[in-house]
């Protein structure tokens, strides 16, 4: 018995690592798709001055919220494909019958999603901050809040992606069911940047974002795993 328990620990990590490698490789092979959320991010931010005003003072006030809202939308748009190809080619069913917990698989897939969308969005955000004339003090909280916040967005979004993966037209529905759940992340993320832009302390907002991430890591993959079972059988 104890032998089997000892043997299972490397097996768990091995599975986690293998899924991570496989998904990163798949993402790397279809590089074109990786840029789509980033281009979307850039285009929508370009629309803001066109639609509202090119006045730098007003743009600076809008910048934290706009960047955060658009980052949220870009994450949502890319979520639809999180489990899609696995569902289509039957890999998902293989996942369901592996002896290792589905929790770990989901966590690995979400980690890859964050690495290929959340992190690039975070890296692109300072450029958009410059375009929207965000005050200099706002840049480091913008990067930090997006880095932590997009991870939560990916985790929570995975639940929606798992629920809608079996549906033919799941994309819009996914946004509809997940967007209300994103409200807290948006509030604290945008407020961290806005506080910093007003030269106020922003550590508490980042701490709350971190707390949300901690809760999401331990609970969201469970819900997503349950949802995947429903979708695979439905």
């Amino acid at each position: 018995m104890s032998d089997r328990e000892n043997a299972s620990a490397p097996a768990l990590l091995g599975l986690f690592g293998a899924t991570l490698r496989r998904d990163l490789l798949l993402a790397y092979r279809s590089r074109g798709e990786l840029f789509n959320p980033l281009i979307f991010f850039l285009i929508v931010i370009t629309m803001v001055p066109l639609g509202i005003t090119p006045d730098p003072v007003q743009l600076a006030r809008l910048a934290p919220g706009m960047i955060w809202v658009v980052a949220l939308l870009a994450t949502l748009l890319s979520l639809d494909s999180l489990f899609r190809s696995d569902f289509d080619d039957g890999t998902l069913e293989q996942y369901l019958i592996t002896p290792q917990p589905l929790y770990l698989l989901v966590l690995a897939k979400v980690l890859v999603h964050w690495l290929v969308t959340g992190v690039p969005l975070t890296l692109l955000a300072p450029l958009l901050g410059v375009m929207l004339s965000l005050p200099a003090s706002g840049f480091s909280p913008l990067i930090l809040s997006l880095l932590v916040g997009t991870a939560t967005l990916s985790l929570v979004g995975a639940i929606g992606a798992a629920l809608t993966v079996g549906l033919r037209r799941g994309g819009l529905l996914l946004s509809l069911i997940i967007m209300p759940l994103y409200a807290p992340v948006l509030i604290f993320g945008a407020s961290a940047v806005a506080s910093a832009a007003d030269a106020m302390p922003y550590v508490s907002q980042l701490a709350v974002l971190g707390a949300m991430l901690a809760v999401a890591i331990v609970s969201a993959p469970f819900a997503a795993a349950g949802a995947l079972r429903v979708s695979a059988n439905g």
């Binding site: 529905l173 069911i177 759940l181 604290f188 609970s219 439905g234």
Partner: protein
């Protein structure tokens, strides 16, 4: 032995037959309480010193708001029961609770807007409570949309139960963060009539209305669940016997 009732509750037929006896009582209680409460509240409760008669919409607004929140938990808990014990009736209760809850949330938002116009001079303000009610409304709509998206009913029930449970975990977080957002962004120019400051002569009719709304909720929930049962079990013998009687 002690759990027999729990298993019986899972049988649609048992639920249908049992609730038939409860319905008249619930209907009478609802009718009496709501008539009593609304006549008391609309005609006999004193006029508000500042808001005049317009405050009387509280007698619909507050009970609807209470129940829209409580209804979410009814939906989520019955969804969880359906998910864990695979109980048919619980899933049907969840389906019914979702649409009733969405309607009640809309009623409380709408009456809030109507109340806001004479009181604050505007239909809509981005107040913390209003905003979280709006998000609650979106959560309900999400559950309903997900239910309708699946072709197989069992998958629809399970998926929307999971979504409802995820929403349950999130509701306190959403409420707290919207509260925090509000205190940060908005100056406290608008003051609600707080619970503690309401006069007993206005409070008692409100209490009657709240209890009346709870009865109404139970009544409508049971009625809707019964019709869901009939639709679902339309091929079974007892429903066909019922229809041909």
């Amino acid at each position: 032995m002690a759990w027999t009732w729990f298993h019986q509750l899972g049988s649609p037929k048992w639920f249908y037959q049992k609730t038939e006896a409860w319905l008249p009582w619930l209907a009478v209680a609802t009718l009496v309480l709501i008539t009593w409460g609304s006549i008391w509240g609309l005609a006999f409760a004193p006029m508000d010193a500042k808001q005049g008669n317009s405050y009387r919409i509280i007698y619909i607004h507050v009970p609807a708001a209470f129940l829209s929140l409580a209804g979410y938990y009814v939906m989520a808990i019955s969804g969880a029961i359906g998910l864990i014990w695979k109980m048919k009736v619980a899933s049907l209760v969840m389906r019914s609770a979702a649409s009733i809850g969405a309607i009640l949330t809309f009623v409380s938002l709408f009456t809030g807007a109507v109340w806001g116009k004479p009181t604050w001079g505007t239909w809509w303000v981005w107040d913390a409570r209003i905003t979280s009610m709006l998000i609650l409304f979106f959560l309900y709509l999400g559950v309903i949309a997900l239910q309708n998206a699946f072709e197989r009913e069992e998958a629809a029930n399970k998926a929307s139960a999971i979504l409802a449970l995820v929403g349950t975990v999130n509701i306190p977080i959403i409420y707290k963060s919207v509260d925090w957002w509000y205190t940060l962004h908005q100056p406290a120019t608008i003051k609600f009539v707080g619970k503690s400051t309401i006069d007993p002569s206005m409070m008692y009719p409100l209490l009657v209305m709240v209890i009346g709304f709870y009865c109404l909720y139970a009544l409508v929930l049971i009625l809707r669940t019964r019709s869901e049962i009939l639709v679902r079990e339309r091929k079974s013998r007892w429903v066909q016997e019922l229809a041909t009687q």
